[in-house]
């Protein structure tokens, strides 16, 4: 590729810059010693270290899953850094955060200064392996809401962490979950007490910066009886030629009548147009609707990453509980996405809704993989699933793999699926009105995703729309 072509290709991923600050890194590779050092770095209590070590030993006995429709060279886990953090002591107050970091988040469109912040949104900013700032904590604590880095929660709220950590995604759940349990370094912790409606949107902004570093974030959100919260995560990374691993675990717990809305705008570096570089996004996300009439809603807009492997799921235990999954997954160039959801119905009259929109362009592959499981106890359960795939060009692939298991004859399940190519008539119609081909594709794709995008908090829907258009640049013509 010529230099100018490269410049054009690069400019499409506008978050690809690196931040130049002094970092502290642990030596390469993974061992019991590294696990101990991570734990010590976070001044963790002994029980937490034990938990990590157990997970590490278990991980050693496990194998990487191979059932997803993705291909990549073997990952050498001994050639990754498991801990990287700005070298300076973590500041106590926002005013003391390294200006270079503040500038970084500013550039990403996330001002950490509370005066400049997006109205009504509190942010936890995670930079490589640590949380560097959490805004509006005082405001939130007035209503009893705990919003802090999980490393802090381990120290300050051990009773809550002990009770819930690993209760939704057990350590042994899968290879990447076990790995994360051993080495997770930061992420957010949210606790909304009984009857409280969280007064602000909460969000975590994940940034991978350091080279060859894996990011293993851990997020735990608990909404107690009658509580509700809307949470959003965003993710970006610099453009680097080598692949980087992001293996996160997110656990949600909703008690009686509680509501959790979890939205993701995932824009990790996808690699270049030739498929070089990009993040391996291997993530386990699951929510437990423990209480009656509780509700967990996942909305995701997945545009980044070289490979996405992720199935935000709901375990519908409480009677009358509701699970929702709204997903847009875009793949372009050589990206691969294998994503979907699992809805496990245990309680009576539980309902789930799955709306998945997959868009594939370039030479990419996009798979929806979903499971709807109705257990014998779940009488009156209902599911509605709709999976639509849109193809742009002739070299990409779209696959739909829906599994349905029903052990209760009173359950009602509906499934609809469509696959279509981007419509030439629609493109021409838009262009004849003056829209460029790229804007036309953006407009049609946004229309295609409307049912999902409207689920995003308003402030982020506009961002997501722009992101969709940018991700598909160069996909037609």
């Amino acid at each position: 590729m010529s230099a100018s072509m490269q410049a054009i290709a690069d400019q499409k991923y506008k978050y690809g810059f690196t931040t130049d600050i002094e970092m502290e890194e642990f030596p390469l590779g993974l061992s019991e010693d590294i696990v101990r050092r991570i734990s010590a770095k976070k001044s963790e209590p002994a029980w937490m270290l034990e938990w990590r070590l157990k997970a590490y030993r278990l991980w050693l006995t496990m194998e990487e899953p191979d059932w997803a429709n993705v291909k990549h060279p073997p990952i050498n886990y001994q050639e990754l850094y498991y801990y990287a953090a700005p070298a300076k002591e973590q500041p106590k107050s926002l005013d003391d955060v390294d200006p270079e970091l503040l500038r970084t988040y500013e550039k990403l469109g996330i001002p950490l200064n509370e005066r400049a912040a997006l109205a009504g949104v509190a942010v936890d900013a995670v930079f490589d392996s640590v949380s560097v700032a959490t805004t509006f904590r005082d405001t939130l604590s007035k209503s009893g809401v705990i919003f802090c880095p999980i490393s802090e929660a381990v120290r300050e709220h051990p009773e809550l962490v002990k009770k819930y950590l690993g209760s939704v995604v057990p350590v042994r759940d899968n290879y990447f979950a076990a790995l994360n349990s051993a080495v997770f370094s930061d992420g957010s912790f949210v606790f909304i007490p009984k009857g409280v409606r969280c007064p602000m949107e909460l969000s975590t902004y994940f940034r991978i910066n350091a080279r060859n570093t894996g990011q293993f974030e851990r997020t735990l959100i608990i909404a107690d009886d009658g509580a509700s919260v809307s949470y959003l995560e965003g993710c970006t990374a610099p453009m680097r030629d080598e692949n980087q691993l992001h293996a996160a675990v997110v656990e949600l717990v909703a008690m009686d009548d509680a509501k959790i809305k979890y939205s993701t705008v995932q824009n990790w570096y996808p690699g270049d147009a030739d498929g070089k570089g990009g993040i391996y996004n291997f993530v386990t996300k699951r929510g437990a609707c423990r209480g009656k009439n509780s509700k967990i809603s996942w909305t995701q807009v997945e545009t980044g990453s070289a490979i996405t492997w992720k199935y935000p799921s709901c375990v519908l235990q409480g009677d009358g509980s509701v699970g929702e999954f709204y997903s847009v997954a875009v793949t372009n160039h050589h990206q691969q996405a294998d994503t979907g959801t699992k809805m496990i119905h245990l309680g009576k009259n539980t309902t789930s809704t799955i709306i998945s929109k997959g868009i594939s362009a370039g030479k990419s592959d996009n798979t929806y993989r979903g499971l709807v499981k109705i257990l014998a106890s779940a009488s009156g359960a209902r599911n509605f699933t709709q999976c639509d795939s849109l193809l742009i060009g002739n070299e990409c692939g779209a696959h739909t793999v829906p599994y349905i298991e029903s052990r209760n004859s009173s359950a009602k399940l509906e499934h609809e699926a469509t696959t279509s190519k981007i419509d030439e008539d629609q493109l021409f119609y838009c262009r004849s009105r003056g829209l460029s081909e790229e804007d036309a594709v953006g407009m049609i794709v946004n229309g295609f995703c409307k049912d999902v995008l409207k689920e995003l908090p308003m402030e982020f829907a506009v961002e997501a729309q722009k992101l969709l258009a940018v991700s598909l640049e160069g996909s037609v013509g």
Partner: protein, 247 residues
């Protein structure tokens, strides 16, 4: 001024336009009539730059510019507008958003300032009112679930907002009730000026009662086989196209 000179075009191996010659001076409205399958829609698509049509000979000059060399969006910016015979549905795309994006894309290319949401909405509401459309049209998705007549009116709404220099109306009158027909005609007549010209493709004289054309052309078998004043349309209505092809 639009000048079409010896225009030949084909779809795949099949030649549809076989040497069209047509000149539409600024400020004039010309009607194109002709039997089904004559190539009227093909002509409108070739003029607006749809893929799949190969121009094998001839040229099209608009405003001194060879428009066949332009992408469809650049033709729109140059002032061309096509009201589709079969308007296309855009699921999930709000009508107001679509039109504002289009209007601003064209304004940008013309070097004019973009309209903000408030300014646009004001214009759009006025245009909707002129066309006696319900205001909820702006909120609905582009053409989705619109009746045939509503789709045609929506085309006219877009035309009013895009303010083209040359409009091609491909059977915009088909499927319209009498009241809608008058409204559409008023919409076209409202644009009439020194700088506006139009090609009105129609099968029926009744539209031409309201939009009185400067010239009527008969397109048949891929050629203009006859041209005349407005009265030619009445003649065709009385006698049909029989015998014209040979002429």
């Amino acid at each position: 001024m639009l000048e079409i000179k010896n225009l030949h075009a084909r779809i795949g191996e099949k030649e549809i336009l076989k040497g069209i010659n047509l000149t539409v001076p600024d400020g004039e409205i010309h009607a194109i009539m002709g039997p089904n399958g004559a190539g009227k829609s093909t002509l409108s698509y070739v003029l607006s730059g749809r893929d799949g049509y190969e121009v094998t000979e001839g040229e099209v000059i608009y405003d001194g510019q060879d428009i066949l060399a332009l992408a469809p969006e650049d033709r729109a910016a140059a002032g061309l507008f096509l009201a589709f015979q079969y308007p296309v549905e855009l699921p999930g795309v709000g009508n107001a958003n679509f039109m504002r994006t289009a209007v601003n894309a064209v304004r940008r290319k013309r070097g004019e300032a973009e309209l903000d949401a408030v300014a646009f909405l004001k214009l759009a509401r006025a245009a909707v009112k002129n066309l006696s459309m319900k205001e909820d049209f702006l909120k609905r998705n582009v053409n989705v679930g619109f009746s045939g007549g509503e789709k045609k009116r929506n085309e006219m709404l877009q035309m009013a907002l895009l303010q083209p220099g040359l409009a091609i109306l491909d059977e915009t009158d088909s499927g319209l009730d009498i009241d809608a027909l008058k409204i559409v005609a008023e919409g076209v007549n409202a644009l009439r000026s020194e700088k506006f010209s139009a090609l009105v493709i129609t099968h029926y004289q009744r539209l031409l009662d309201y939009i009185v054309p400067d010239m009527v052309h008969v397109l048949s078998g891929g050629r203009i086989v006859r041209s005349g004043p407005a009265s030619l349309a009445l003649e065709l209505e009385a006698h049909g196209y029989a015998g014209l092809e040979a002429a």
